[in-house]
Each structure stands twice: as structure tokens, then as C-alpha cells.
């Protein structure tokens, strides 16, 4: 049986990949995708913990996480589309007007 810590470490790695993706990519779509990646990393931890502890709570939590991830993606994409339709660009460096 693989000890549960390995799953946590894997989840941590996934999470950092997501964060790096968030920071590096200039493109809003990729930003949203990296957020999805982070949420999946969290799912991994929940399932691993639930498997180790033998209770089902973790898995219930995963369902909620997935639905919430979907909502965020939906809202995020909606905003990106309205931004594109109005201003023709979805690059993040366009979003610099609010600063200081």
C-alpha cells in the first residue's frame, strides 16, 4: 500500500504546476485552465485522505469541489468572452488600466 504522504506530495507538485501556470502564461484561457488543475490537485488529496481514513466524507467533498470548479470555469469563460467581444483581446497585459 502506497503510504498516503506520497499522494500528498504528488498533489503538492500538481498544485505548484497549476500555480506556475497561473503566473507564467499571458493568456487568460490558460490561466483558467491552471486554476482547474489546482482544484484537481485538491481532489486528489481528498480522495487519498478518504481512502486512508476509510470514511466517505472526503469523496462527498470531491463532488462539491468538481461542481464549484465547473461554475468558476463557466463564469471565467463568460467574462473572457465578453472581454473579447468588447475589446478584441484577451491578453492579460491589456488588463493594466487599474494600477497604482
Amino acid at each position: 500500500m502506497v503510504p498516503v504522504e506520497h499522494y500528498f506530495v504528488l498533489a503538492l507538485i500538481l498544485f505548484t504546476i497549476g500555480v506556475v501556470g497561473l503566473v507564467v502564461r499571458r493568456h487568460l484561457i490558460f490561466v483558467l485552465m491552471s486554476i482547474e488543475l489546482m482544484l484537481n490537485a485538491v481532489n486528489l488529496v481528498f480522495i487519498a485522505a478518504s481512502r486512508a481514513l476509510g470514511t466517505l466524507d472526503g469523496q462527498i467533498m470531491v463532488f462539491f469541489v468538481i461542481t464549484v470548479a465547473a461554475c468558476e470555469a463557466a463564469v471565467g469563460l463568460a467574462m473572457v468572452i465578453s472581454l473579447y467581444r468588447r475589446y478584441g483581446t484577451i491578453a492579460t497585459d491589456f488588463l493594466r488600466t487599474l494600477r497604482g
Binding site: V4, E5, F8, A11, F15, G18, V19, L22, L28, V31, L32, I35, M38, L39, A41, V42, V45, F46, A48, A49, A52, L53, T55, D57, G58, I60, M61, F64, V65, V68, C71, E72, V75, G76, A78, M79, V80, S82, L83, R86, Y87, L95, T97, L98, G100
Partner: protein
Amino acid sequence: MVSTFTPLPSSFYQAASPFLVLSVCALLILLSGVTKLAKNSCCIFVLTNIAFGATLLGVCCLSLPGRYLQDALVVTPLSIFLQLLLLGFAWLLAILTYFSHLRGDFFRSELVALYLFVLLGMMVFSSSEDLVSLFVGLEISSIGLYTLVGYTRVTRFSLEGGIKYLVLGSFATALLLFGFAFLYAVTGSLQLPVMMAAIASGQPSLWLTLGASFTIFALGFKLALVPFQQWSPDAYEGAATNITAFMTICVKIMVLSLLIKILGWVSESLGGTWVYVLGLMSVASMLFGNIMALIQSSIKRMLAYSSIAHSGYMAIALGVMEPGNSFPARALLFYLLSYALTSLLVFGIILSLEHRQGEAIQLNDLKGLAKRYPWLACGLTVGMLSFAGLPPTAGFLGKFFVFNAAVQEGHFGLVLCAVVASVISLFYYLHLVVMMYMHAPGKFVVENPNWISLVPRGILAGAGIGVLALGTILPGLVLALLQGLFG
């Protein structure tokens, strides 16, 4: 441990009645969007009033203290008080928006429904002690707020603010979940009391610290404490004023309700480092918030940074909490109440000053306001004095109690930083007063005269008098009330 399905006791329905009423009304307003009623903002306004009224009735009379659905819904005097605060301020803000230039933009059926759902999410979050319902409540409110920021009055800034808020917000949600996951992994249960007991008894492990820290960081993000504060200026400036006001007041109430519960237990179990980190965050956000606000030219952005600073002051009280002594929590609540009342006053006035198409008010637009609109200027001055923490206002007593709590624990360093920060803050708060009173009036003129109608003036006057009264006559009463909350 398979939990068999047991029919829910009738008391649950009574306790959950406010939530049910609110969600039903929100759905009704959403559906009304289909009919031609949607065009008429006035009847939507009536519907919202009904929704608020019913929920308030539900919270006041019907809710019974108790723990339901394995702590998913915990009704205690504290949670009732917080829900009353949330509902009260949200309602007042809705009324103020109705009488302001934002009526057309805001009172579309889907936005109002969204507004009520966000409120529902906050109430769920503040009255639950189970990770699942906490997470669900938090997400309903957060995602709802992203859209409200983005779409209330669609301009380039609101979209930009909304997107930034969404990206960073979801990043924080991921952090929060990560924290919950690790806490769940270490303590084995999703119910807060069980977890807290496990933490208190168990020995500190890496994963426990990691989980708890991520949770606190995420909540720190919501409160806009320093490392996680940069979303709030953009979101506040981008959003329409009433949404900004809603965010400053209600998000803080929501987050602090959880922090008050868990920090009481968690602080000494995680050892002294915890107090140290929170102290660090509070000092950093106090100094950063005040220093950054010094040179802002737009009022909303300045108020955003000032709200970061005020989160810093509240974080002092958080840092010194310990299970035995409930005084820091009461001090925090009093500070919250005074901050919320002052924000209502200030944002209400800004709301009534704004133009339909013009962009956010700059500081120099307020030049010589006192000559033209003396009572608005007077209200704004009282608000500024309360933010600055000068005595006759509630802000001073809030700060005084927080300093009291900090000195009781002997955190002199923290208090000295707070003193330095509030002296710096004095500068830009009084700069506003200088603009209004000590300069010749500029070209700025209030565009829509209809704010002269009775209701918004009544609300603003009530808020102003409340701020002054809370600073002089009422504190004894309010403290006794807070004392009651903590039993």
C-alpha cells in the same frame, strides 16, 4: 460508520427558514425576469424588499439555537447577530442603490437575484461549522461577487476588476480547499468541533501546520490582509459603488465570523508562531494600506487601501485571541460594527455624489463641497473622523477596544505600529476634509438631484448619528449586548 438517513426534525425547518425564504424569493425574482415585469425596476425593488423583510423576520423570530445536519447548520446567538448584520447592511445598501443613479443598472432581475444568492451564501457560511457547507457557502458568495463586480455596470474597468477578482479569488479558493483537505487528512473529520478537538489533543505535524496555514491564508485573502491584498483595490475601483460597499462590509463580516470561531481554539494548539504570523500580517497590512492610500487620487481606491488597513487593525484582535478570554472577540465585533456603519455612511454619500456616465470621483472633484452641499460634507467628515479613529466617533472606541485587547496580552510592539499607522492614516483622511472645507468649490456638480428624496437622506443621517452615538452614548449598551452573545 454509515449514517442512515433519518427524517429531519421539524426544528431544522424552523432554524433553516431564513435560508429557505431567501432562496425562494431569489428564485421568484429570477423567474420574474421572464415576464415583462423585469423592465420595471420599481416592482423588482418591491420584491427585494419583501425578500429582505421575510428573511429578517425568519432570522429574528423563527430561528432556534441548536446544531443541525452534523454541524452543517449551527444557530447560536452569535450567528444570529451576524446574520442580522449581513441582512441589515445589504438591505440598506439595496435601498440606497435604488435611489441612486445605479437604479437602472442594478435593479435588473438577474442581478438582484444574484445579489440575494450571494447574501444566502454568506449566511450559510456564517452559520455553519462543517467544512462542506462552509466551502459551499463561501463559493456561492465568491462566484456571485465575481459576476456582480463584472456586470453591474459594464465598463472596461468593471470587467478588468471582475476578471482579476475571479482569477485571484479562485486561486485563493484552491488554497482554502488545499487547507481543508490537509486538515481533513490529519483530523479525519469534516466537522469543525471534532477537528478542533483533534488538533488540540494531537501533536503538531507538518501536514497539520500546512493545512491550517493554507486555510488562514485563504481567509486572509478574503480579508485582503497584506500578502493577499492586491486584488481588492482593483476590484473595489472596478465595481459599481454599491457593490464595493457590499463587499467591504459583508465579506468582512462573513470571514470574521469563521475566524472568531476557529481562532479561539486553534491559536495555542499551533503554538506561539501563529500569533506571530497573524501579528506580522496585521502590521504589514496596517502600514501598507495606510502608506499606499496616501497618494491615491480616486476616492474608491483610497477607501480600498483604507479597508486593507482596517483589516490590519482587526487582525490585531484576531492575533491575541485565546479560548478563555472572550474580550478580544467582543472588541473585534465592536470594531466591525463601527467600521461597517462608517463604510455605509461614506459609501452612501459617494453613491449619491456620483454621475451617471462619469467615471469614479477623484479627490479634487470634492473641492469646496462644503459650500454647496453642507450636510453631505458634514456626513463625509464624520465618516472620515470615524475611519481615522478620532474620539467622538465609533471608530475611536473600536480602536480603543482593540488596543485594549492587544495591551492586555502585552503586545506593545503591535500597538505601537497601530499608533504609527493611524497617525499616517490621519493624513489622508483629513486630506479629504481639507478638500471639502478648505478649498474653493471646483466645477463638480451633483448630477441627479433625486437623492434629495427622504429615504436615502434618512438612512445617511441615521448612519451618521449612529456613528456619533456609538462613539459617545451607546457603547455601554452595545458592549452588554456583545457580552450576551458570548454567554
